[in-house]
Amino acid sequence: MEAVRRNGSPEVNRSMEPHITSQKKYRRYNKYIPALLLLLPLLLLIIGFFIVPMLYILYLSFIQTDGLDTSNASYSLMNYTRFFTDSYYLSSLWLTIKISLYCVIVSLLLAYPVALTMSKCTPRVRGYIALLVASPLLISIVVRNFGWFLLLLPNGMIHRTIGSLGIDSSSLRLLFSETGVVIGLSNSFLPFMILAIATSLYNIDPSLEKASAILGASPLRSFFSITLPLSLPGVVSGSVLVFSLSMSSYVTPALMGGANVPVLPVVAYDQMINLMQWTYGSAMSYVLLGVTLFLVTVFTRSMERSRFKEVFR
């Protein structure tokens, strides 16, 4: 009796409910179908040419093998332990981080004044500057690097100019050095930094500066107390962008640094293409990805918890 009732009464409900909910669900998801259809081509592209290869590389990185033969391979963390126990690879990682940090600092220092100027201009002038700032992006990175290459050559224009001032520049190594790579990378990524900072400067209410002035703050003080803190979101996003791009860049370090500047993407490329060490190269790529993500996360989190946390809300 008990059992029948227990089963009996829910029976009625169950027969009703699924009907209603399925109809509701159908209606609820119905409106997403057009959007989904529109997104489908891109989704397929991303899955097919990004997610699947990334997963395949992740899979490769756990294979313990010599060369390309994966037929009788076993799975292990060997590739990763090899990386973290070999000082050559660790120093390459450190070099990559160092160069990326330099790039962030250099592009920050160069970008901020430009962004500040843009924020003070009339919209028309601002548009022209933005176009000018973005114009390098229209030129292939190889062409741009080649330009720098010519300028930085030991008998190139920069060395000759310094020489003509009577200064001995023979000890200064611009090309095939970290300096050259930092110059090339900062130049490439400067537009991103400028636009990121400018965007957050535009969003600052201009009356705040007036308020600060009327309270007695000199323009310099207003800048450091009001404008700079309030532009931090742009500084942070620009820095993250430039840092990640620098960490993963291959062409510029390869061209402008060569064998003297073995950053991790160059080393990983070497392992995979020249030495046919697919599995080890894959592991390196994932180390690079992991370290970049980790550093970026730590950086943004710490900014969001700093004394300027209110700015990031």
């Binding site: 209410d205 309030l230 700015v311």
Partner: protein
């Protein structure tokens, strides 16, 4: 002893943007401790005038004096003023305490004195206990109070307020109006208050400056401005008004007779002609203005010899709680009368007699 110098003086200020003349020869004196309102329609140059005093703008001609000193070339941050902006402009990355201590730190005030003054300022605006809040965590009215406290805490020479209440709802606006007035008197700081709300200006100010198209129309106490407007613009801008036009029939030293289109005769006090030039002659066209609250409906017989009467038909009756606004049609124009009774016995369509005193009519010559 009264102070001999005015706290602020503007002499012949002239300002244009491109070819648009924004301020056309402004002359203004602000007395010590008074609350002066700049009142005028949108775009008439109120903010521009305030920015001129604050030091955010430069004039093409004329000069600005603060406490007797010419400040044309003194930048805003050296003028030692307090200002409250329409959008509050609290520093979003600073707590209430930090917002208030900003100006004090610049003035290198010692910590104890600073805390004492911040405490006092927050007490003045009734915001004690919210020192640790960020502006984001405050309501609109609270932000406005903090903005006022931030301006006052530095003990400025002058307090400038640019439409500080226009972003608030009606109830809060009324509350803060009274509070700003109270605080201003309590602190005694000379204050310039910008508004386009005539009610706000009338209720708060010691004196009102009515501006129109970059010029000052009239300066006076609220009662002077309301009861004795010196131009048509001022009359129409302050309060509601009824308008009639006619032609002068006879002029004498104590009374002018005007004939309306329908032949009815009205009496006007010659002192009530607005503007400097009060000379007129029979046959001149004239415009008459009467405040709705001065119009009586069915006045009965009056003892005054020149009392004005006119019949009209009621077209609408609007209820405002404490009063009725009665609309009548007269010579094709709508006239309004404010009637303070509980329930009038007239209906829409009733024929009534309107009455008003010659001294309650303001006149403008064309």
């Amino acid at each position: 002893m009264q102070a001999l110098v005015n706290d602020v003086e503007i002499r012949g200020a002239f300002k244009k943007y491109g070819s648009n003349i924004i301020l056309n020869g402004i002359n203004l004196e602000v007395k010590q401790g008074e609350l002066l309102t700049l009142l005028g329609p949108s775009g008439c140059g109120k903010t521009t005038t305030l920015n001129l005093i604050a030091g955010f703008l430069e004039v093409e001609q004329g000069e600005v004096l603060i406490k007797g000193k010419r400040v044309n070339d003194v930048p805003a941050y050296k003028r030692d003023l307090g200002m409250v902006f329409q959008t509050y402009s609290l520093f979003p990355h600073m707590t209430v305490y930090e917002n208030l201590s900003f100006g004090l730190s610049i003035r290198k005030i010692a910590k104890e004195e600073k805390n004492r003054r911040i405490g006092q300022a927050l007490e003045l605006v009734r915001m004690t206990g919210l020192e640790g809040r960020y502006p984001r965590e405050l309501s609109g009215g609270q932000r406005q109070r903090v903005a006022i406290a931030r301006a006052l805490v530095v003990q400025p020479k002058l307090l400038l307020l640019d439409e500080p209440l226009s972003n608030l709802d009606a109830k809060l606006r009324h509350e803060l109006r009274a509070e700003i007035k109270r605080m201003q008197k309590e602190v005694g700081v000379t204050t310039i208050f910008v508004t386009h709300d005539q009610e706000e200006a009338l209720s708060m100010s010691d004196r009102i400056v009515v501006m129109n198209q970059g010029q000052i129309e009239q300066i006076g106490t609220p009662t002077e401005i309301y009861a004795n407007p010196q131009s048509e613009f001022v009359f129409n801008f302050i309060g509601k008004s009824n308008q009639l036009s006619g032609r002068i029939q006879t002029v004498s030293s104590h009374m002018i007779t005007v004939v309306l289109e329908d032949g009815e005769q009205l009496f006007v006090d010659p002192d009530n002609i607005m503007g400097a030039d009060k000379s007129c002659a029979a046959g001149d066209p004239i415009k008459l203005y009467i405040r709705p609250e001065k119009v009586t409906i069915d006045p009965g017989s009056s003892t005054e010899p020149y009392f004005n009467h006119h019949t009209a038909r009621i077209t609408q009756m609007n209820y405002f709680g404490s009063t009725w606004e009665i609309e009548v049609s007269l010579l094709g124009e709508f006239m309004h009368a404010i009637h303070p009774v509980i329930k009038p016995h007239w209906k829409i369509g009733s024929e009534v007699t309107l009455g008003w005193k010659p001294s309650d009519v303001m006149a403008a010559l064309k």
